[in-house]
Subunit: 298 residues, 2 copies
């Protein structure tokens, strides 16, 4: 089987594992209050690329084969709950005011604004609850909870969102833009890899190598996001395209130009891949994910 | 010194301890992004009765005197961060649309809606981060995180809020009202006592006794809230009074009548206090807190 086909199988298997873990670890829509739980599932189970869970599972393969599979599932679902909560809140009228997400009405359109607010709140809570309740070593779980909180809170994702809000009309320069994205998107992508590494019992120096991969990947991810926002249409993206330009927001494309942005993304992809050299063949899925992130069409 | 004076000293000492722990454990407003961290402090440090932290500290006294003081501070701040986040989000225009909280402009009035959304999100994250990062026994910390998540998520506080939203115009009956408040307010009050009990290394049967206290206290708390909403003015409350009647929401007062509601609150106060008999003098602060909750004027 060719390497590409093997990776397609890997993706299919681990996307399936993600969906199944989400289904198992989210409350059923039969749980009171029904409408809230239905809306939480709508938000978290509406497809999407599942890049963060895939990164968790891929990093989870780097150890001695004795990774804690239940902790990996918990980490994959927890990080996807955090990502889903951030999308639900970002889409609200007081933020990006978006009607379309993953090709479907956003949560506040399909339900209502107050429900969308609570859905985001409760998905965040559930993320930490799932990690705390998973089987496995207590100290590892606390490290995971601490890492997820640091990556998603006011010094991570939520903080990056706050900087993004402040930047409208202010014209961030390239280093300001990088800091904003490192917090808003990069921190959670890096956290996905870290959680997988913790579940795989990697040592500190191995986790450090992983962070180099994650940092380059996170930056590449955002550059590609900006390229797609400038070049793809809404139907392909499953969300409103061209919003950055419409909102006069600085992007890698407006600051670097399209050609240079695409060249940078490729270079970062190579940096990400080469930083995994020490892990040998076990790192193949992480390397393939870097290719996938940079070459994606949506 | 009279018992009342001793309790006043206790309250002063532990309110001070709460403020000092909040100041220490929240990010400084000098941390990037400044405005978000300033708004988080505005939301969490704007006064309030601090009933949940006081319950944490009071329950923390029930053990063998070897309670983990750092874990108690972490629990007190974490639960207050969860409470503060819920107030910030409840006050948003898509929820209760309130301009006044604790006698000051609500966060979305003092800052803006998008910032208020992020403040609530990030205060929730910080709550779990603080518990995960505290010193102390890993399993105890995981139990605390799990309890706080259960009490505040979709089967607790956020779920109660969702039921409350659905109940407008629907006329909940008394048992529906009790279920809603048990989730919306009671779960977090009970959790405060549980976190203190965990930090004090109480055994399962002691924690069960504490839950009886907490259940009665939580119900009494909400009945008194409804009585005050119906009888006090906005200046005394520091928030908009009479909102329930204006919104045609069912309350204990509308369902039971004012006199019976007040009588019920007193009975629950007695139930709460008598459920602590097995703890002897160590439970004095918890007993005094039950009196305080029922006899408060705001």
């Amino acid at each position: 089987m060719s390497a590409t086909l093997q990776f397609q199988d890997w993706i299919a298997a681990h996307s399936g594992r993600t969906e199944s873990a989400l289904d198992r670890l989210l409350d059923s829509a039969q749980t009171t209050p029904h409408r809230l739980h239905e809306a939480m599932r709508y938000a978290a189970q509406g497809g999407g690329k599942r890049i963060r869970p895939l990164l968790v599972y891929a990093a989870g393969q780097l150890g001695d084969g004795k990774e804690n599979t239940e902790a990996l599932d918990a980490a994959a679902v927890a990080i996807e709950c955090i990502h889903a909560y951030s999308l639900v809140h970002d889409d609200l009228p007081c933020m990006d005011d978006d009607d379309l997400r993953r090709g479907r009405p956003t949560v506040h359109k399909a339900f209502d604004e107050a429900t969308a607010l609570l859905v985001g709140d409760a998905l965040q809570t559930r993320a930490f609850e799932i990690l705390a309740n998973a089987n496995g070593d207590a100290n590892s779980k606390l490290r995971m909870i601490s890492a997820l909180a640091a990556a998603s809170g006011s010094r991570g994702m939520a903080g990056g969102q706050a900087i993004d809000l402040e930047s409208i009309g202010k014209k961030l320069d390239l280093s300001g833009l990088q800091q904003m994205h490192a917090m808003k998107t990069g921190a959670l992508l890096a956290c996905a890899v870290e959680l997988g590494g913790i579940a795989a019992n990697l040592n500190a120096s191995q986790l450090e190598q992983l962070q180099k991969y994650a940092k380059a990947l996170g930056l590449a991810f955002q550059i590609v996001d900006d390229v797609l926002d400038a070049t793809a249409d809404s139907q392909t993206l499953g969300k409103t395209a061209g919003k950055d330009a419409a909102n006069d927001k600085p992007t890698y494309v407006t600051l670097m130009g399209l050609d240079y942005a695409q060249k940078q993304a490729k270079e970062l992809q190579e940096t990400a891949i080469s930083s995994l050299d020490g892990f040998g063949e076990k790192a193949q899925a992480l390397k393939d994910l870097a290719l996938l992130v940079v070459n994606r069409a949506k």
